[in-house]
Symmetry: C2
Subunit: 507 residues, 2 copies
């Protein structure tokens, strides 16, 4: 047996600590009694500080430098990523890190109170400090003149506003006319989605659907939580949660498929990369196998939307759903059900939005947070700016802050720069799907027979197994030959909604 | 605001890490999918090493030394305990710690396989190494000629075989004649305990019983696990588990009350002592508020047996149990039920033993592990020695190793020296109960009215709040004026079984 290199050993231990942080988060969100929140926050703070110390420890840097000279290509990549993270972490003053951590906890409390009271002014002072500190963070991390890029990069390595904003403009130019065309058509019936669906049936159907896609329950579990999420503690333990609502069937149904997509990514990471830098978000102090937030989201969207909302999927599985809920669905033909789960309707709340208006919600947030970080918009002006954009894009009046500017937790958690990754994920999902279709000429027929393993296998081979070895851009290059390209996504949306709404194609 | 002393800060962070280790353990035993066990073991190993490093770090020692000179009485006690733990941890070579950790994992696997196959020879090689390493550990920790004392002390600070063995002799001299007298009487019917009791009813009744005693569910939760346990992550999050078996009512019923006793201790710790050395088992790398294993066990036994199996308890609550299980208990008068749950019957399995024969199971184990550690008994001779003692003490033939020497996990986990604390707990339970009775002259009447808060309050005031501030001996001194004394326990057993079996008292 050869001696383990210090870099591999230290990386493994660092990954262990990040996995433990993830366990603490999972437990806090799914199991912890209310009384435990204060001491849990302290435990997380202490362990984060330990992980941070170990990251910037000269011994780790020294080991990484050695590995850069002597390691395999894989090890050199890991060492390179470690050195980048060490440098970035060192650029951020420890006082700022601590101040941000304290503010996050305080701001999330203020946000929760403000949302409950639907009163933005309760949250505004915390948000003002958060914007100021986040701007400091961006400057500390470093950027080429656009502070937002520094933030964006922590979620989506390599992405810049210079790439993002034209991409968004192109999506907007497509989405808005498509939305107007859809709004001119009659809407599908949606009452079917809000009937009474006992939770146990939802749970059984959702879990069966997750397993059908390839989710390995021997290395995972499905729980209930207020906000659905996926989290992993190495590929051997990848957990998902769902929110079951008796009177809203698609919530748990598609929520589970969404988290399953994330979970397939994490479970598909190569065993060789377990406990390495390549399954560690060293700057975020988070154990994760996905290359970026956007890449991760591409997989949740792909399995949820491309597969889970497709006509072929429901032609195969609708009868099972009817067996699970015979009385509720007795009068609902497959066609009605499929149209209902693909209905487009502008709404106030991002997490309840359909596929098309979802991106408009994202663009609105990105525009506003960019302006906040650049000082072009003050926190005080934010609610009005929000409401104006909602009216302009979606034609809706925001009745109160809870249904407007206060709906998302992200800003209170300091997650400026993360919103774009949702839309980037949509775009990438269609690119990967198209690439899989080229590689597997019978993909559609196999899917129509309920064979998900060819797609799962291709994605594992080309995306999942690599974890964070490649940047998102490299992953796209390797699979599609090019970079981020919205065309496959736009084509998909046009085709889908043309079918669902009976539009003329190529509108 | 005054500056936090380095000792308090470092102690708080160390306690945070121990709490996190407890979270990892709880999750592994109640939630983790099977696939996660390997990576979880690595996470626990890494975090244990971090905690160990922080304990023996010269900075912590320096801070403790400073505190010993300048702190309050409470802080000086904490500093003293920290210095003792630092010295003890440093006496144990890191190589031995690592070797023991690896062996524990390996030996527990071997034990599980051996138990499943009921074949001691599968476990014997691991056990041989475990005995050898444990002996090394005892010598490293240091002792005055009796290596077993060093081990015993890690569970029960201050306890020695010189005190323990005479105590055991006195218990044996009492228990064996009482058992013989009981065996000469007719046995109560016990069929009532093994009828079909749906788990949901058991769960509801058990949780209600726990809360009646004072278990705060806002700072805790009740789960299902193969081996019931209590574990805490500060007093704010104290969790218990139970094993529900449809055809064995007392398992969950008294198992829950047992763990509730442990939980009341942890929830009753003074908030002032949270995140200090006085809620840290620094040598065991375990966050715990109880003064010792024996003191902790005294509280589980007190609430389970002294209260939960008492006539007064069931006179009050039996009707609720009958309401929960009306058909199962329709033909069972209170008197029959009370006799059934207090029946004494020699059996092969410790965890299923009644209150009286339980101590005999413990003494057998202690005698054997003492002989193993001292080299007076070889691992090879162990099964035969076990079986001989079971025949002598309980009059039973051991049919196979699974029902004999392989039944407990303790030796495979390296927990030599922990068995005595179960019986010490029984003894202490009666001492504390007697002391409470002296302090609260109307205690019995209050209990008979279902008022558990006076007892809970007295125990909180005199035991729970102090956490590890006092040694077990000091706690007894403060409450009873003396040391460990088995007389109240012997009186209790005699009185109880005289009533249940209609024996002449003072036999």
């Amino acid at each position: 047996m050869t001696q383990t290199h210090a870099f591999d050993q230290l990386s493994a231990e660092l990954n262990d600590l990040l996995c433990v942080l993830n366990v603490l988060t999972w437990d806090a969100r799914t199991q912890m009694p209310a009384g435990g929140s204060g001491s849990r926050a302290q435990q997380i703070a202490t362990l984060s500080a330990v992980a941070r110390q170990r990251l910037i420890d000269p011994a780790f840097e020294h080991a990484a430098l050695q590995m850069q000279d002597s390691g395999s290509e894989l090890q050199q990549r890991a060492a390179g990523q470690a050195l980048e993270a060490i440098a970035a972490m060192r650029r951020v003053p420890e006082a700022l890190t601590r101040e941000l951590a304290l503010l996050k906890s305080e701001a999330q409390d203020a946000w929760a109170s403000a949302k409950a009271a639907s009163d933005f002014s309760v949250f505004a002072p915390s948000l003002e400090r958060m914007v100021a500190l986040t701007r400091q963070l961006a400057d500390a991390l470093g950027h080429g003149g656009q502070p937002y890029d520094a933030l964006l990069n922590t979620y989506e390595p390599g992405m810049t506003t210079a790439v993002l904003l034209p991409l968004f403009a192109r999506l907007r130019a497509h989405h808005v006319p498509l939305l107007r065309a859809i709004q001119a058509r009659s809407q599908p019936r949606r009452d079917v989605l809000t009937r009474a669906y006992p939770v146990e049936g939802q749970r059984a159907f959702s879990l069966a659907a997750a397993r059908r896609f390839g989710y390995d329950i021997e290395r995972g579990r499905l729980d209930q939580s207020a906000h659905p999420f996926e989290i992993s503690f190495t590929r051997q333990d990848v957990r998902i949660t769902t929110r079951f609502q008796e009177h809203f069937l698609p919530g748990a149904l598609f929520g589970t498929l969404h988290e399953t997509g994330h979970a397939l990514y994490e479970q598909g990471v190569s065993p060789e990369l377990a406990r390495t830098v390549l399954t560690s978000d060293l700057l975020g102090l988070y154990a994760v196998g996905g290359a970026s937030y956007g890449t991760h989201e591409s997989q949740s969207r792909l399995w949820e939307n491309r597969i889970g909302r497709s006509r072929a999927y429901w032609e195969l599985h609708y009868s099972e759903l009817v067996q699970t809920f015979p009385t509720q669905l007795a009068d609902v033909p497959l066609d009605d059900f499929h149209r209902a789960i693909n209905a487009v309707q502008p709404s106030l709340i991002r997490v309840e939005a359909d596929e098309l208006t979802y991106d408009l919600h994202i663009m609105l947030r990105v525009q506003l947070e960019l302006a906040l970080i650049n000082g072009e918009l003050s926190v005080k002006e934010l609610p009005e700016a929000w409401n104006a954009r909602i009216r302009e894009d979606l034609g809706l009046d925001v009745p109160d802050d809870a249904h407007g500017v206060l709906q998302d937790i992200h800003w209170s958690a300091g997650m400026f720069g993360s919103f774009p990754t949702y839309t980037i994920g949509n775009v990438m999902a269609s690119q990967f799907y198209a690439a899989a279709g080229k590689a597997l000429p019978d993909l559609e027929e196999r899917l129509a027979r309920g064979e998900y393993s060819p797609l799962h296998g291709w994605l594992t081979e080309n995306v999942y197994q690599h974890a964070r070895r490649y940047t998102p851009h490299e992953l796209l290059e390797r699979t599609t030959g090019g970079g981020l390209d919205p065309q496959p996504y736009l084509d998909y949306l046009t085709q889908k909604y043309s079918a669902v709404y009976g539009l003329e194609e190529h509108l």
